[in-house]
């Protein structure tokens, strides 16, 4: 359930919603962090749900002493009217057995807000790639039939690759194929839900492995930026235009005691 901070309950219907999947390496969540922090998108509300593990902290996107005191929760909604952009950030895990009701809550909110497009940033286990997937770009996309018509040309021009379908019964029957996103969390089922509900939704994902996934987040976002033009690209270093939030410090734990050296 969306709870606005102010009185504004709904979004204008031509907004694009960006959200992460909770998937391998948290790449989608890291990428969403970069978007919010770079574009300085203000928070407009909370996605209040019983399906996510509760967590709180101070403002992850702090820029000064005053806004560092704000509280952040496990699911928050940000909006940037100038770009007609709504962003949902998820900061904790989906509670076991609640994945279905979480997706239902998301779908009903998306339908109520009538977002023009929904884009899910996700990732997929790199070790599950087949021989052909090992070469070329590590990025894949999926679009629902409702969005297919309007974006097919753009994606073709960008030379993006659609996520390959795999046989349901490898070696026995290669005619029956299905979408398979191991390590993608709710990506596949959310995509299926959006197809069923006729929503205009796309998945953009990267093959990656668990580890330091900060570079994966940057590269996934650069890929997404080619399509959505969130940030004007410069001729210089492609990574420089995204601003990592302060909450990314100490990703690998605290400092070490000086006495051990």
């Amino acid at each position: 359930m969306f709870v606005p901070i102010g009185s504004e309950q709904d979004f204008p219907s031509d907004y694009t919603l960006l959200l992460p999947a909770i998937s391998v390496g948290n790449v989608g969540q890291l990428a969403i962090d970069l978007i919010i922090s770079t574009l300085k998108i203000p928070k407009v509300g909370y996605f209040y749900t019983d399906c996510l593990v509760p967590m709180v902290g101070s403002n992850p996107y702090e820029t000064d002493e005053e806004n560092a005191k704000e509280l952040c929760t496990n699911a928050e909604v940000y909006a940037l009217p100038s770009q007609k952009l709504a962003v949902l950030q998820l900061r904790s895990l989906v509670i076991k057995k609640k994945s279905k009701s979480f997706r239902q809550a998301l779908v009903s909110w998306i339908k109520r807000c009538a977002f023009a497009r929904v884009i899910l940033l996700s990732s997929c286990h790199a070790y599950h790639r087949d021989d052909t997937q090992l070469f070329g770009t590590p990025f894949r996309y999926l679009v629902t039939p409702a969005l297919q018509k309007s974006v097919a040309d753009v994606l073709k021009e960008l030379e993006w690759k659609e996520m390959e379908k795999v046989s349901s019964y490898p070696g026995l029957n290669d005619n029956e194929k299905r979408v398979f996103i191991p390590g993608g969390g709710f990506t596949k089922r959310f995509y299926d839900d959006c197809c069923l509900e006729d929503l205009q939704m796309a998945v953009v994902l990267k093959f990656c492995s668990e580890g330091d996934n900060v570079p994966d987040a940057f590269s996934l976002l650069n890929q997404v930026n080619e399509w959505l033009h969130l940030v004007a690209s410069t001729n210089g270093d492609v990574l420089a235009k995204w601003k990592a939030p302060g909450s990314w410090q100490l990703l690998f734990g605290s400092g070490l005691p000086a006495a051990i050296f």
């Binding site: 709180v56 101070s58 795999v166 349901s168 709710f186 070490l256």
Partner: protein, 287 residues
């Protein structure tokens, strides 16, 4: 797939393994019954005393008038509240929460007339019945936290409510550019909701530190529904109940809201000694 001897085996293939997504919608009727039964068993039950129930029922919107809720989670936080606040004696038990989960099995409500062993106990101030204390010593599972908040705060009047949460955390979980080895423990950090405007007697918990569990659930509830709330977290290197960690919460008594609840110092010392001693005796198996 049939083998040489003709028996049919199900073939496990990594390529079609939906690893972290549970299979849904394909449950049998029996499975659904078991799941529903488990869900019923994991429900959180809030029970109020007859007087409180009467007060809830007689109020205009069926909520208990409440100005202050102090929730302590864990041995040291509850130890602080029982020695520094509850020992004044002007408190009465007014309700409890019972729940069942994998780590707290004997908390389910009993059918007989005996009082059920509860996982959380509510106390009400005799002098000011709008002040509630909640002592919580047991584990509350992730899927029960949301329900806990909805049920507890659902029966309280929120218009003038103020919430204080106390808990402890191992200092090894504290993230800082220096080493946690050199930090003077125990120390207090706070988090507060946007509506909380009062002074906080300790530094705020800085990023990238986060909090989880019941305090996080309560703070989320209060942030979303615009209730002033503050959470004090004591980082300590002792996991058991001890007087040093309990004492680390003392700066809270400088807040006006808390100071008026404090017991007198003689009673505090006496209760503190008793609280710590009883846990020591239990652990000294070989003396």
């Amino acid at each position: 797939m049939a083998t040489f001897f003709g028996e049919v085996q199900s073939v496990f293939s990594r390529a079609v393994d939906e690893d972290d997504e549970e299979e849904e919608g394909e449950e049998e009727e029996e499975d659904r019954e078991i799941i529903a039964e488990l869900e019923r068993k994991r429900e959180v039950h809030v029970t109020w005393n007859p007087e409180v129930t009467a007060a809830i029922e007689s109020s205009p919107n069926r909520r208990l008038p409440c100005s202050n809720v102090i929730l302590s989670v864990g041995d040291n936080a509850t130890g602080f509240v029982s020695s520094y606040i509850l020992s004044s004696g002007s408190w009465e038990v007014c309700g409890s929460i019972t729940l069942w989960n994998e780590r707290c099995r004997d908390c389910n409500p009993r059918k007989d007339s005996l009082p059920a062993p509860s996982s959380c106990t509510f106390y009400r101030s005799i002098t000011d019945p709008t002040v509630l204390l909640c002592q919580c010593n047991s584990y509350i599972a992730e899927d029960q936290l949301f329900q806990w908040c909805e049920k507890v705060f659902g029966s309280l009047e929120k218009s003038s409510l103020n919430v204080t949460v106390l808990s402890t955390c191992p200092v090894s979980e504290y993230k800082t550019p220096e080493s946690t080895y050199s930090l003077p423990v125990p120390f207090l950090k706070a988090l507060r909701t946007s509506e909380y405007r009062e002074e906080v007697p300790c530094p705020l918990l800085e990023q990238p530190n986060i909090a989880d569990g019941l305090p996080a659930a309560v703070l989320t509830y209060c942030q979303v529904w615009q209730i002033p709330a503050v959470f004090y977290r004591c980082y300590t290197d002792l996991s058991k109940l001890d007087s040093i960690t309990i004492d680390a919460f003392r700066p809270l008594l400088s807040c006006q809201r808390m100071s008026r609840l404090a017991a007198d110092s003689a009673k505090i010392q006496e209760t503190l000694r008793k609280t710590v001693k009883s846990s020591e005796i239990q652990s000294n198996l070989y003396i």
